[in-house]
C-alpha cells in the first residue's frame, strides 16, 4: 500500500464519517463539524492526488485552496445562522417550530 493510497482512503473514510454525522447528529454545531470533517476528507484526497507521478501536480493545490476559502466562509455563515436560529426559536436543532402561522 503506497503512501498516496493511505491518504486517499483516509480521505474517503473522513468523507463518509462526516456525511454520517451530518445525517445522525441533531445538534446544529455537530452537524457543521461533521460537514467540515467531510470537506477535510475531500481536500485530503485532492492533496493525495497531487502527489502521484514524478512531479507534483499544482492544480489540486489551487483547487484545495479555493475549497478551503468556500468552506471557511460557508461555515462562518452557517454558524451565524445557527446562532440566530437558537436566539429566535430557543433550540439549537432543526425541530419544526410548533406554531403554524402563515
Amino acid at each position: 500500500m503506497t503512501v498516496v493510497s493511505i491518504y486517499g482512503i483516509t480521505g474517503v473514510l473522513l468523507f463518509v464519517m462526516g456525511v454520517f454525522g451530518l445525517m445522525t447528529q441533531p445538534h446544529l454545531l455537530k452537524k457543521l463539524l461533521s460537514l467540515n470533517i467531510a470537506s477535510a476528507g475531500v481536500f485530503l484526497l485532492m492533496v493525495a492526488l497531487a502527489y502521484r507521478g514524478d512531479k507534483l501536480d499544482p492544480v489540486p493545490h489551487a483547487l484545495v485552496l479555493t475549497g478551503i476559502v468556500i468552506s471557511v466562509s460557508a461555515t462562518a455563515y452557517a454558524v451565524a445562522l445557527a446562532a440566530r436560529l437558537q436566539k429566535i426559536t430557543g433550540s439549537p436543532t432543526l425541530e419544526e417550530p410548533a406554531v403554524d402561522e402563515p
Binding site: 451530518l22 485532492m46 440566530r84 436560529l85
Partner: protein
C-alpha cells in the same frame, strides 16, 4: 471595436456582481438607481450575447485570456442561451416586483438593504453556472448562488424561514461536497477539469462511474428531485415571495442544467442506461408524490412549492428518453431534449408568475391560507388572471409553453415504446388540474372580502406579464427550437430540424 464590447457574456456575470457590491453603499433612492443600472445592463448584455451567438454561431470564451487546461472556459451555445434568456426574463421581472414589494417602513427597508446585494450575487452566480463548461468552476458557482439563496430566505427572520433555510444550507453544502468528490475522482482519472477535454478523454470504467454517480447525487439534491426534495417546500414557501419565485424558477434549474450538460457530453460514452432509467423513475415518483402533496396543502405557497417538486419530475423523465434515443432512433433523443429544455423554460416562467401572484395575495389579505382566497377573483382580477394563465402552462394545456414541453416528452416516450412515462405524465397533468382548481374555485367564489391593502398595480402587472410570457413561448415554438439547434451536441441535434 473596443475589446470589452466584444465580450457581452462577461458583463452578464460582472454587472450583477458590481451591482451587488455597490448597493450596500446606498439608501432607498440611490439603491433604485443602482437597480435600474443593473437591469439595463442585464437587458443589453443578454441582447448582445444573443446577437453574438446568432452572428458567430456557438463560441467559447477563456476567462482572462487563460486557455484550458489551466484557465476556465465558458461555452455559449443554444442551450446556454436559452437558460440565460430565462434568467434574464425572470430576473428583470422579479427585480421590478421587488422594487414595489419592499415598502418604505423601517423593517421593510432593512430587508431591502439585504435583499438587493444577495439577489444580485445570486443572479451573477446563476449566469456563471449557465456559461461555464468547467466541472470545478461549477462547484464554485453553485456555492456562490447557493449561499446567496440561503441568505435570501432568511430575510424575514420568521422561525419557519430560519429553520427552512438552515436545512437548505446543510443539504446544499453536503450536496456540493458529493459533487466535489466526484470532480476529484474525474480529475484524478483524466487530469482535466474542462468539459471539452474530459469529453475527449473519458472512457468507461469503474472510477468514472463512481465519479458520475457521486456528482449525480449532489446535483439531484440541488435540483430537489424526489426523494431529496424534502428541503424545498419549507424553504420556498417561507421565503419572501420574490425570493420564492427566484428559487423555484431559476435556482433548482441550475442543478438540472449541470446534470444535463454532463449527460450530453460524458454519458453517451459511459454506459449508464440504468442510471438514466433510475433518474426517470425518481422523476416519475416526484410527479406523483409532489402533485399528491400539493392537493393536500392548505396554504397557497406550500401548494405552489409542492407543485415545483412535481414539475421538476418532468425534467428528469427526459433522461431515460434520451438514452432510448441513443440506443434506437435519434429522433426520440431530439424530441426528449427539446421537451426537457422547454419544460425548464415554461416551468420557470409559470412558477415565477404564480409565486409573485401569491405575494400580491399576501400583500392584499395578510396571509396565504387557501381559504383567504375566497372572493379575491373580483377584488384582484389581474392577479387572478395571472394565476389562471400560469396554470394553463403547468397543467400542460395548449397554448401554454408547458403543453409543448409535455407533448414532446409524451411523443418521445410513445414513439420509443416506453408507455410507462407517458402514463405518469398524463396522470401528473390531471393532478395539476386537481391542485390548481383548488385555488381557482376559491378565487371565483362570490364573497365580499375586505382587502386590507390595495397592492401596487405594478406588482400585479409583473405577475401577469410573466404568465403571458409562458403563453407566448407556447404559441410560437419555432424561435426556441431554432436557438436550441445552435451548437446542439451531435447526440441530440440530428433531428431538431424536423420539429414542429
Amino acid at each position: 471595436m473596443i475589446p470589452v464590447l466584444q465580450q457581452p457574456e462577461t458583463w452578464l456575470v460582472a454587472i450583477p456582481a458590481l451591482g451587488a457590491a455597490t448597493t450596500f453603499a446606498f439608501r432607498e433612492q440611490g439603491r433604485r438607481g443602482v437597480v435600474s443600472f443593473v437591469l439595463a445592463g442585464i437587458a443589453i448584455s443578454t441582447a448582445m450575447t444573443f446577437a453574438k451567438l446568432l452572428l458567430r454561431g456557438p463560441y467559447s470564451h477563456s476567462i482572462g485570456g487563460w486557455v484550458a487546461p489551466l484557465g476556465i472556459t465558458w461555452q455559449i451555445d443554444g442551450l446556454a442561451a436559452a437558460m440565460i434568456l430565462l434568467t434574464s426574463l425572470v430576473g428583470v421581472m422579479i427585480s421590478r416586483y421587488a422594487l414595489e414589494y419592499f415598502g418604505s417602513s423601517a423593517e421593510e427597508q432593512r430587508q431591502a438593504a439585504y435583499f438587493w446585494p444577495l439577489w444580485f450575487f445570486l443572479l451573477s452566480g446563476l449566469y456563471a453556472i449557465f456559461l461555464t463548461a468547467d466541472i470545478f468552476n461549477w462547484y464554485v458557482t453553485l456555492e456562490l448562488s447557493g449561499l446567496a439563496a440561503v441568505g435570501l430566505i432568511t430575510l424575514s427572520e420568521k422561525p419557519q424561514a430560519l429553520t427552512g433555510s438552515m436545512r437548505y444550507l446543510l443539504i446544499a453544502l453536503c450536496a456540493s461536497l458529493f459533487y466535489l468528490l466526484g470532480v476529484v475522482f474525474l480529475y484524478g482519472e483524466y487530469g482535466s477539469l474542462d468539459l471539452t477535454t474530459l469529453a475527449a478523454r473519458i472512457q468507461p470504467g469503474s472510477v468514472t462511474q463512481v465519479a458520475l454517480a457521486l456528482m449525480t447525487i449532489g446535483l439531484i439534491a440541488k435540483a430537489a428531485l424526489f426523494p431529496l426534495h424534502f428541503w424545498l417546500p419549507p424553504a420556498h414557501a417561507n421565503a419572501p415571495s420574490p425570493v420564492s419565485a427566484a428559487l423555484s424558477a431559476l435556482v433548482v434549474k441550475a442543478g438540472f442544467y449541470i446534470l444535463l450538460r454532463l449527460q450530453l457530453v460524458l454519458w453517451p460514452v459511459v454506459s449508464t442506461r440504468y442510471l438514466a432509467i433510475g433518474l426517470g423513475a425518481l422523476g416519475a415518483a416526484a410527479i406523483l408524490w409532489g402533485s399528491a402533496q400539493a392537493i393536500r396543502q392548505s396554504r397557497l405557497k406550500l401548494l405552489i412549492a409542492y407543485s415545483t417538486v412535481a414539475q421538476i419530475g418532468y425534467l428528469f423523465i427526459m433522461f431515460p428518453l434520451l438514452h432510448a434515443g441513443w440506443a434506437g432512433d435519434p429522433l426520440w433523443a431530439s424530441y426528449a431534449w427539446a421537451g426537457g429544455v422547454y419544460q425548464a423554460l415554461s416551468h420557470g416562467l409559470a412558477k415565477a408568475a404564480l409565486f409573485l401572484a401569491a405575494g400580491v395575495v399576501i400583500h392584499a389579505v395578510g396571509d396565504d391560507r387557501l381559504d383567504s382566497l375566497r372572493g379575491l377573483g373580483e377584488k384582484l382580477p389581474l392577479t387572478a388572471t395571472a394565476m389562471a394563465l400560469a396554470g394553463i402552462s403547468l397543467m400542460g394545456i395548449p397554448p401554454g409553453a408547458g403543453f409543448i414541453a409535455k407533448w414532446l416528452l409524451l411523443s418521445a416516450s410513445v414513439a420509443s415504446g416506453q408507455w410507462g412515462w407517458a402514463v405518469v405524465m398524463i396522470l401528473g397533468g390531471l393532478m395539476a388540474v386537481g391542485y390548481l382548481f383548488r385555488v381557482y374555485r376559491r378565487l371565483l367564489t362570490a364573497r365580499d372580502v375586505p382587502v386590507l391593502h390595495q397592492p401596487p398595480r405594478r406588482m400585479e402587472a409583473v405577475a401577469l406579464t410573466l404568465a403571458i410570457l409562458s403563453l407566448v413561448f407556447g404559441l410560437s415554438s419555432y424561435p426556441l427550437f431554432y436557438l436550441l439547434r445552435i451548437g446542439a451536441p451531435a447526440s441530440v441535434g440530428l433531428y431538431l430540424e424536423g420539429l414542429p
